[in-house]
């Protein structure tokens, strides 16, 4: 009962005259429904919050340096590593047979279950595994000894162990083993040299390759236009031979420089020993980051944490994407989404304008409208197939034949690329914009249009001056929805231009600077790739969370900016009384 029956109040002190109960029962008030509505909302909120918290917590803690634990087992074997997770398991009879009766009894009492922990032990080049399970009953001692180093390398993943020796310029420097500051300085110098080598190999030699390629293409173009063997072609060939000679000389010089630097680099080495005593000597420059995990104070941990985040958002991936940064993926996602908006907004708005304002409302328009709405329900992978077949092969193939014949058979636009990916996603999201725009146009009060028309404005002037500005906030909402949908889409992109590793960004210093034909990296695909396509999915798992956090963050920032723009428009155009 939700309220006191009126009769009970009114009839106090006198006889009840009527048998009819004048009250509001629960069904009429709809209280159960209210609980159901509120419950549904709460359930949804809890799910979303839980999801966000999971992603946030895992993403935020991944880069925090963890202690390195040395575990001594009953058989004397020692394991050193970061504790990763623990679980209950059922030891087999052959394992149980080796245990002492007391332990066996404990396990039997527990229903045959024992617990074990997973340690990230690194040293893949020595152990051939990154992770190892340790059964808790076999542990005799755990310790976090000082001096244990966590060393991130360019190759083979992290090394966990101790520094045995440091060689600088072929001279052993045992003093540096314990001298953290001195070692850090030597490490910085080695890394600077390594970056210089990379600069020469990638930028300078890459530049020469680029010039050589464009010269070669120029000759090909002349051969195609003028024909082979013509005087122009011969002259071009001759010019090419000269240029090639010059460039080859430059290349030889740069290659020699790089070689010399590499030789110098190889004389600075670090010798590491894992917990079992096996040693490994590597170039100091191939160490990305090293820290004594058990000796760090809070500031030291924070420094490692910050440096890892910075590497993550500002560097390229390495080790099959499981380490390093995701800058190309951030950039690819951002540029693709921007292109998508640039395409989808005008296209969707123009379509909706015609449908709503100009087309004669009839059966045909109704069919078109239903079809547009249904387009939103087509699986996105189908759009990917269409994008590949139509945009890349048909459109791109024609563009290649017309404008880049000299590059054939290598496709330029005739394969997946950021332009085709954006167009595919634009097609995928255009129904959202059309529907939102139509709604927004329909919501513009008739009195506004009539006022404008009565002033002698033409239909187009009315739409341009009155209707579109009024509908703009609604249109923006549609574009925001489309953007959010597009930025989170992965399946179609796998067909039309997203790759595991794109060596070249869509934006660089070579004319025409913005390379729409290039394939690119995408955070969504990166998540799929790291989580499910890498050598070791266990090692990739934390990266999945970090990348997800980053993707959600990126979409959040883009949406917020769009919403801010929309609200500004709303304040400008919408009155309070219509």
């Amino acid at each position: 009962m939700t309220s006191t029956p009126f009769d009970t109040v009114a009839a106090k002190g006198r006889a009840q005259s009527s048998t009819r109960v004048r009250t509001t029962d629960m069904k009429a008030v709809g209280e159960p429904n209210l609980w159901a509505f509120g419950g549904a909302l709460a359930f949804g909120c809890v799910m979303i919050l839980g999801f966000l918290l999971l992603v946030f917590w895992n993403g935020v803690t991944t880069f925090w340096p963890k202690p390195l634990i040395v575990v001594t087992q009953a058989d004397g074997a020692r394991v050193a590593g970061e504790p990763f997770r623990a679980e209950a398991f059922r030891p087999g009879p052959e394992v149980l047979a080796t245990l002492d009766p007391a332990t066996r009894k404990v396990i039997a009492d527990d229903g045959g279950l024992a617990s074990r922990s997973l340690y990230r032990i690194g040293n893949y080049d020595i152990y051939n595994e990154d992770f190892r399970w340790v059964s808790d009953f076999s542990v005799t001692d755990t310790a976090t000894p000082s001096g244990m180093m966590f060393i991130e390398r360019l190759e083979w993943g992290p090394f966990i162990g101790r520094i045995q020796g440091v060689t600088i310029d072929d001279q052993e420097r045992p003093a540096l083993v314990g001298d953290r500051a001195g070692l850090a300085a030597a490490h910085d110098a080695a890394r600077a040299r390594w970056r210089q080598i990379r600069h020469i190999e990638r930028n300078l030699i890459g530049d020469i390759n680029h010039r050589l390629e464009s010269e070669r293409l120029a000759v090909r173009r002349i051969a195609i236009r003028q024909g082979e063997g013509t005087p122009e072609h011969t002259a071009a060939l001759q010019r090419f031979a000269e240029t090639e000679k010059v460039l080859q000389a430059e290349y030889a010089k740069l290659a020699a420089d790089a070689q010399a630097l590499k030789a110098e680099d190889a004389r600075t080495r670090i010798t590491l020993a894992e917990i079992g005593g096996a040693e490994k000597t590597i170039n100091l420059s191939s160490v990305v980051r090293m820290y004594p995990a058990n000796d760090l104070d809070l500031m030291g941990k924070l420094a490692v944490y910050a440096s890892r985040w910075w590497e993550f958002v500002s560097d390229e991936p390495r080790e099959a994407n499981t380490e390093g940064g995701v800058l190309p993926a951030i950039f690819g996602t951002f540029v693709m989404t921007l292109l998508l908006v640039v395409v989808v907004a005008p296209f969707g708005v123009i379509t909706a304008l015609y449908l709503r304002e100009y087309a004669k409302q009839g059966r045909l328009v109704a069919i078109v409208r239903i079809s547009v709405n249904n387009l939103a329900g087509v699986p996105s992978i189908v759009y990917g197939v269409f994008g590949l077949g139509f945009f890349a092969y048909v459109l791109g193939g024609s563009i290649d034949g017309l404008f880049f014949p000299e590059r054939l058979p290598n496709p330029t636009f005739g394969t997946g690329g950021i332009l085709w990916a954006s167009l595919t996603l634009a097609l995928l999201t255009v129904p959202v914009v059309i529907v939102a725009t139509e709604e927004a146009l329909a919501a513009v009060p008739r009195s506004m249009r009539e006022g404008s028309l009565a002033c002698g404005a033409s239909k187009w002037q009315t739409i341009r001056n009155i209707v579109l500005p009024r509908a703009m906030p609604g249109i923006m909402t549609g574009v925001i929805l489309a953007m959010a949908r597009g930025a989170g889409e992965v399946a179609p992109l796998m067909l039309v231009g997203v790759v595991k590793l794109a060596p070249e960004l869509p934006l660089d210093g070579y004319f025409p600077f913005f390379h729409l034909e290039r394939s690119f990296m995408h955070l969504g695909f990166h998540i799929f790739d790291v989580g499910f396509q890498s050598r070791n999915s266990e090692a990739g798992k934390p990266m999945v969370f970090v990348t997800t956090l980053l993707l959600i963050g990126l979409i959040f920032i883009m949406n917020i900016s769009a919403i801010v723009i929309r609200n500004r428009l709303k304040r400008k155009f919408a009155g309070s009384q219509f």
Binding site: R449, E450, G456, I466
Partner: protein, 273 residues
């Protein structure tokens, strides 16, 4: 209470006793009929509108007075399935002729609507909107027009200091006078008013009525109203419509004091409607 079936009134039974204006006829409506889809909303309306006078259209709801008004600047063109027959002659041309430029026609016939509909722009921009769509950019002309139109609609003194503030911050009555200013900024010959005071309070209504009084003579005004006192106060001629037919069209004073038809008397005295 007199119940009238639609068939009781034939078009040729319209009774005319209008006051002639000094400048002759502005508009001539000749055998004008209109259909929304298959239902006929206007049955053979014949009337002339005198130049420089105020003509009121009265009648119960649904009698077609708004439809008739909106036919005069072809605002009804926006409605799907609308069909007309007959003529509306303005300046010697039938405005329903295929060759007529509707936009040019509307520039000569300003219109004020039932609800104030200022655009979400500044007061200044609202008033010069008709000039903007004509592509007028000369600042001096625009400013002169704003002053003339706002003075014409008796709004100048109230808003001259906040011309560049949003028009949506004004009161309803001010907004309606702004809409009148916007209509007269285009320098029309005819002003069509579709129940301009129905959304306003009595004081704002009085101001608008005063304004109509001032504007008469300069413009030919046709006003649709539900308020019979208003029609009696502001208009020179009054047309009484009923069920899509023009019943009686005559001098306002006569319509309200001594109508020729019993039906008109019943309506204006409030016995039905």
């Amino acid at each position: 209470m007199v119940a009238l079936a639609a068939d009781d009134v034939r078009p040729n039974e319209t009774v005319y006793h209008i006051k002639r204006g000094p400048e002759g006829t502005a508009l001539a409506i000749e055998d004008f009929r209109l259909w929304y889809g298959s239902s006929q909303a206007l049955h053979s309306v014949n009337m002339t509108v005198e130049r420089g006078l105020v003509t009121a259209l009265i009648g119960p709801s649904g009698c077609g007075k708004s439809t008739l008004l909106r036919s005069l600047n072809r605002m009804n063109d926006l409605i799907d399935g609308l069909r007309t027959e007959g003529k509306v002659v303005f300046e010697g041309t039938d405005i329903y002729d295929k060759r007529v430029d509707v936009i040019a026609l509307r520039k000569r016939m300003g219109m004020v609507f039932q609800k104030p509909n200022p655009f979400p722009m500044s007061i200044f921009e609202n008033v010069i909107y008709p000039l903007r769509v004509d592509g007028v950019r000369d600042r001096k002309i625009l400013e002169e027009t704003v002053e003339r139109a706002l003075k014409g609609s008796a709004l100048w003194d109230e808003v001259k200091d906040r011309l560049h503030q949003s028009a949506l911050g004004m009161s309803g009555g001010q907004q309606q006078r702004l809409c009148i200013a916007r209509a007269i900024a285009a320098d029309p010959e005819v002003l069509l008013m579709d129940e301009p005071c129905s959304a306003l309070d009595p004081i704002a209504t009085a101001k608008i009525e005063e304004l109509i009084d001032e504007l008469s003579g300069r413009y030919t005004i046709i006003i649709v109203t539900h308020n019979m006192q208003q029609a009696a106060r502001v208009s020179d001629n009054t047309a009484f419509m009923y069920l899509g037919r023009l019943i009686e069209y005559g001098e306002t004073e006569a319509i309200f004091t001594n109508p020729k038809l019993a039906q008109t008397r019943d309506y204006v005295t409030g016995r039905f409607g």
